[in-house]
């Protein structure tokens, strides 16, 4: 529209005399607009990415002088480190379990909240509060609840069960995994709930009305109408949450410190420890690349599935 206007003005006999530079600028205006953003991305993303690739093939350790080329040594250190392998397994396991629970709970809450009832707005506001809390604070809050001897959890359980409960929620297996999962579920179930609720509200109500007229039960309607229509949103929510869950770090840092031993080392915690406690930066960088490859594999699978998912 803009170009048309200028052309017509020229045709009308009032041509603005544009300099050569102005004409060039006019032609390349779109590129000039995006150039700062592109340069910023190059400077802040591409360069560090390439630099990290270089670092993973050299010695970059604050305790060992020099930056000699070491080939694949940093990668082999990670691959043959049993702690790294365990942390990768734990990351996958914790993410899968947490996200599965969050999905089921989030769907149940969304199905409940999709209908209007008194106080719905207030309850919804309360439900999504955990989303706005920093994971570090969430970890600290759950530590205060669970940590002996000050946390009230064991006391409450003792009162409820009528016998003394002395569970080490953050030091004894399997309870420590339960603690980490419950903290994650408490914070991120609302995320699932919000996305799934948006999906549920987008399903045309006339489908349910028609189903009701045909005598379809609620359970059948759920499987025949809700699930297929919600499919893309489910995949979207699962993908986003999984991508976030495999970076699990904050709650572990606060609640268990990776312990006991290395029992709660996730991939992120492992990389943090190697890089920032032990100062083996090149090994941590190599580990990050391996972790990235693993993550990319999972993401590709999920995104392909997401793209294939079409509403019925």
């Amino acid at each position: 529209m803009q170009t048309t206007t200028i052309t017509r003005m020229t045709a009308a006999g009032a041509p603005p005399k544009l300099s050569r530079f102005a004409r060039w600028a006019d032609r390349n205006f779109k590129w000039l607009l995006v150039a700062p953003a592109v340069l910023l991305i190059l400077a802040l993303s591409i360069y560090p990415l390439l630099f990290s690739l270089v670092v993973s093939f050299i010695n970059y350790d604050f305790q060992v002088p020099g930056h000699a080329f070491v080939g694949l040594k940093n990668f082999s250190r990670v691959i043959f480190d049993p702690v790294a392998r365990w942390s990768l397994f734990l990351t996958a396991w914790l993410s899968a379990v947490s996200v599965a629970i969050e999905f089921v709970l989030g769907l149940l809450v969304a199905l409940t909240m999709v209908r209007s009832f008194p106080g719905r707005g207030v309850i919804m506001s309360i439900l999504i509060v955990p989303l706005f809390i920093s994971p570090v604070i969430v970890g600290q809050a759950w530590t205060l609840l669970l940590q002996r001897p000050f946390g009230p959890t064991n006391y409450i359980l003792t009162q409820l069960l009528g016998q003394e409960v002395t569970i080490g929620w953050m030091t004894e297996s399997p309870w420590l995994y339960f603690s980490l999962i419950i903290a994650d579920v408490w914070q991120w179930t609302p995320f699932m709930f919000v996305i799934l609720l948006a999906g549920l509200t987008a399903i045309p109500p006339n489908l349910y009305e028609a189903a009701e007229l045909d005598g379809v039960s609620a359970w059948q309607a759920f499987w025949a109408i809700t699930v297929p229509h919600l499919g893309p949103m489910i995949m979207l929510a699962l993908t986003f949450r999984l991508l976030d869950a495999i970076r699990m770090f904050d709650t572990i840092f606060i609640m268990t410190g990776g312990g006991p031993g290395t029992q709660t080392y996730t991939a992120s915690y492992y990389l943090y420890t190697v890089g920032f406690t032990q100062f083996h930066l090149s090994q941590a960088t190599a580990g990050s690349w391996l972790f990235l490859i693993f993550t990319a594999f999972v993401v590709t699978l999920l995104v392909r599935r997401l793209l294939k998912t079409e509403p019925v």
Binding site: A12, F29, F62, T171, G259, P260, T262, Q263
Partner: protein
């Protein structure tokens, strides 16, 4: 212009006018807004910078009530800097530093409480005395090492004075990150003041025959116990009857475990015999293991630099620590240093061993500062006794002030270091209620002003001195953090039920891998240097070397 052209022109004009009226972006309006936004961004940089500078600027000099012991110590520090004695290190440093007015000294400090002293007290006082500008750069503990190295690699000269863990000295010295102080010391320091450092700490910054900093934080572990419980006639009688021994502060780890279990059996759930900070990364495990392991005759490394952890001493140490855990407050293995303090201060635990602030908190002195009021008020003030940890207490971490080799103001920076660690100024600093810097000079231990800070402070100081006489140093060599991490993992795995012998083997394998990575010969050279320091082993403590300070 024909009719069609006129129609098209009119349509275009109307579209542009409509867009303008609707508030939609035209190229002109876009460019205008873009320009405004860029201008605002450009202006926001300096504005934010000014706000940050304002927020992070040195505070005004904070002085305590002149009649209080702290106020008197601060007045003495000021007097020593301005009036002398003329051969005092504080006075010499102050006078010499007047040659550098307007110079800015960038000093790293651990973020949080540690930075309050240079921000509120020593930094502003030095600025006032010399006209030097102080800029405190707050960093996390690992960053105090990594950023110093990174800035050195970049030759940025970003830092002048570095707060470093003593364990980092060899690698920072060999890496050229820090500079030796010997020439400056010879030029400026009164050597009598140098001799005032407790012998455990005096040699600590020495490496390969040179001095690479000034020690600045006496982090010695000590035993703090409830006198009212240990002096309870009924308990004393019961203990005598059961063990045919007097109930008194333990001198061996076997006694410690026995007493802890006895008190727990007698007084739980109101009071438990002991408590420890055993949470992963807390970092009590490594220090406790190191002190007991060496007191039990364990050697950290063999002649071939293979880890010496898998030994009778190693098994005995873990077995003893497990017995301590069993005799302790429920949740012992989940406690960190702060929650252990909370347990002790609220009267739930009869004995703990920890860093020196424990004594000041137990006397309710630290909590007088708002910065530290997250620690609960002491319910045991006046009831706390002090003793040396059984065997040999660990000097857990500590701090050195080191001179950054890339500093553009080496001399001015050195002078600040000399002044701030001088007897009079350092006394005022370790007396600050929010201080996490602990007494380390003989004059600190003898100070009547410090002894008047809270009831029992004199006994507290004597005990810190006695603890330092038999104290053990953390290994001062590259890879220390790797070795520590392996110990922490080993201990917490054992607390969770892993076999002690197998866990020792895993930790030893990790130690050997660390040593191999850093070079066996190189590590051996570092370890050999470390063994020369008083307090490196239980066989060459300050006391065994005949250097003990008697108060």
């Amino acid at each position: 212009m024909n009719d069609r052209d006129r129609r098209d022109f009119q349509a275009g004009l109307e579209a542009e006018v409509d867009a303008l009226l609707k508030g939609e972006s035209t190229r002109r309006s876009f460019i205008t807004r873009f320009g405004q936004m860029t201008g605002m961004l450009a202006a926001s940089g300096p504005i934010l910078g000014m706000m940050t500078d304002w927020a992070m600027a040195q505070q005004k000099l904070e002085l305590a009530d002149a009649a209080s012991p702290l106020g008197q110590a601060q007045a003495l520090a000021l007097k020593a800097s301005t009036e002398g004695p003329a051969n005092g290190s504080a006075f010499r440093a102050t006078e010499a530093a007047k040659k550098f007015p307007g110079v800015t000294i960038n000093m790293t400090s651990e973020a949080g409480l540690q930075a309050l002293d240079p921000r509120n007290f020593s930094g502003p006082m030095w600025e006032q005395l010399t006209g030097t500008k102080m800029n405190v750069v707050e960093l996390s503990n690992p960053d105090q090492y990594s950023k110093a190295v990174a800035e050195h690699i970049a030759s940025s000269g970003a830092y002048d004075v570095l707060d470093i863990s003593p364990a980092w000295t060899p690698s920072l010295a060999d890496g050229g990150v820090i500079a030796p102080l010997d020439d400056f010391i010879a030029k400026y320091m009164n050597m009598k003041d140098f001799e005032d450092f407790h012998p455990l700490y005096k040699s600590l910054p020495t490496y390969k025959g040179k001095i690479w900093g000034f020690f600045d934080d006496g982090d010695i572990f000590a035993l703090y116990y409830r006198k009212d419980i240990f002096e309870d006639p009924k308990l004393m009688e019961a203990y005598q009857a059961k063990f045919n021994a007097k109930l008194e502060p333990p001198k061996t780890w076997a006694e410690y475990n026995q007493i802890a279990q006895f008190i727990t059996d007698q007084m739980a759930p109101n009071v438990y015999g002991a408590g420890h900070f055993r949470k992963a990364g807390s970092p009590g495990n490594q220090f406790d293991f190191l002190q007991q392991f060496r007191a039990n005759g364990g050697k950290l490394f063999g002649d071939d630099m293979k880890a010496g952890l898998v030994s009778d001493a190693g098994v005995a140490t873990l077995t003893s620590m497990k017995a301590s855990n069993a005799a302790s407050i429920p949740g012992n293995n989940e406690l960190d240093a702060v929650s252990l303090w909370a347990a002790f201060l609220t009267g739930k635990v009869a004995m703990i061993y920890s860093w020196p602030p424990t004594g000041r908190m137990a006397g309710n002195y630290s909590q007088s500062a708002t910065a530290i009021n997250f620690i609960p008020k002491s319910q045991i003030a006046g009831k706390v006794g002090y003793a040396v940890v059984p065997g040999n207490p660990e000097h857990a971490v500590g701090y050195n002030k080191a001179l950054a080799a890339d500093s553009a103001n080496l001399e001015a920076s050195y002078l600040f270091m000399q002044w701030v660690t001088s007897p009079e100024v350092s006394l005022a600093r370790v007396m600050l209620p929010y201080a996490l810097r602990d007494p380390y000079r003989i004059s600190h231990y003898k100070s009547d002003l410090y002894g008047g800070l809270f009831p029992g402070a004199k006994e507290y100081l004597i005990n810190l001195n006695n603890s330092a006489n038999v104290g053990l140093l953390d290994p001062i060599m590259p890879g220390a953090q790797d070795y520590f991490l392996s110990l922490d993992r080993m201990c917490t795995a054992v607390w969770a039920g892993a076999d002690p012998k197998a866990s020792l083997e895993t930790a030893a394998a990790e130690w050997n891998e660390t040593t191999d990575r850093l070079g066996v010969d190189s590590q051996k050279a570092f370890y050999t240097e470390f063994l020369k320091l008083p307090g490196a082993t239980a066989e060459n403590t300050v006391e065994k070397l005949g250097l003990a300070v008697k108060l």
